[in-house]
Amino acid sequence: MTTPVLEVKNLTRDYVTSGGFLRPAKMVHAVKGVNFTLNKGKTLAVVGESGCGKSTLARMITLIDPPTSGEILIDGLKADAAHVTREARQKVQIVFQNPYGSLNPRQKIGDVLAEPLLLNTDMKADERREKAMAMLLKVGLGPEHFNRYPHMFSGGQRQRVAIARALMLNPSFLVLDEPVSALDLSVQAQILNLLKDLQDEFGLTYVFISHDLSVVRYIADEVMVMYFGDVVEHGTRDEVFGNPQHEYTRTLFAATPNSSVESIKARLAKKAALAS
């Protein structure tokens, strides 16, 4: 059997709120024991509403925050957020939700892309620049964008830059934390297409965090539903969408707006019946 790209064992994370005078500190269990393995070239979608611990999970597997307990194995090797080696950093990259906040406004796009190479490799400056330029073209931007600043770009273009930056180090897997939820519908479609193309080309592995089920259905191979820090459902996309087991998953499906013609007809009929 091949080694999975990412293996997570019993991962938990507790946050302690600072207590005050006459107010005891409280413990919040943000993630309560998550297990999964993810193979190369696959997309795992993590679904849940705000506060369910999906972003905490993302921060742990990208080695930004240390877990309270549990293990993270990347390409079969144990990773430790307290001592992130250059090798470990090259293997994991993240794309954040808000492309307006995740790029330094005073850094040119070319420098944004070359910085991971500067920090984590011993490449020469011209080599770095060449690689950055190649990646810029790969994500659908032009050479004229190389010396521009982030404020000169639209939201969709910035998200392309963020994706390009994440791919500079040839990571084993990429964590995408709500990468399209700040974008317009048509731009969202472009970014989703780009992510699929890149996955086919480089055999990328994605952990895709989202609360939008229609996006998840489009992009995911496996789906994991989280609810208050627990994984309540985990299966292939067709299993979860075809036959949701947990009540919360069914609530999520019911709440997702349905834009089929049949459901509009049903709604209008109901409304007419109420009015008469």
């Binding site: 519908l185 048509s186 479609a189 229609s214 707006p257």
Partner: protein, 280 residues
Amino acid sequence: MPLLDIKNLTVSFDTSVGLFKAVDGIDVSVDSREVLAIVGESGSGKSVAMLAVMGLLPGTATVTADKMEFEGLDLLKMSPQEKRQIIGRDIAMIFQEPVASLNPCFTVGFQLEEVLGKHLGLKGRAARDRAIELLKLVGIKDGAERLGAFPHQMSGGQCQRVMIAMAISCNPKLLIADEPTTALDVTIQKQILDLLVRLQAEHGMALIMITHDMGVVAETADRVIVQYKGHKMEEADVLTLFENPKSNYTRALLSALPENAVGDRLPTVSDFVFEPAPGV
């Protein structure tokens, strides 16, 4: 006679590179008891058009229209004093960011009672009772305790409920909701949409939903206006729009929905050429 009738509305902004037309010659009309959705992407001018009606645009904006009437009253010729009698009472608006649209320095109760005092002259006990009643109407059960809460002590969904309570406090004839659920989770979005539709039916209000989400349109609207870069692309009733869209842009928007994906790729808007549908 339509409740709100706007003909040939144009809004332009003075910028350092010249005049920018955010809304270019748009007609909007809503009947009482109707749910109209205005759909478009960012930059389509959908919010600006309604802000112009409310008179909430900054001084750099120039608003012109052939006609802008609410219940037969000309909003263009009205003095600011006269307009204040209508705005906030007969026409109310709720915004996208519920937490940001409430004042963080005052309690929810104070802000609610302020509206009641300004427009209906309710004071003290009467205002307080009405505020509790309003909170109950929007699904906040422990209203009496919640009146003392500050906005930061409540969740986004709760804050949006308070905003809705404020907006409907004077029984408006027209409620304009500007992306009311965009900042909220799907489960909360469902609750807020159901609440808006229920209130619209019970109070016989007209409702204008400004949104970029076709799913929200499908769940709420009677009639839909599709806007793109300040121009109206299409106007149709909701069923016709989804079943048989006339303009290319509407078709593009619908096919960009991930649930409508055919095969492995999503068509993107740049794959289409846009012109308004014939007759618009």
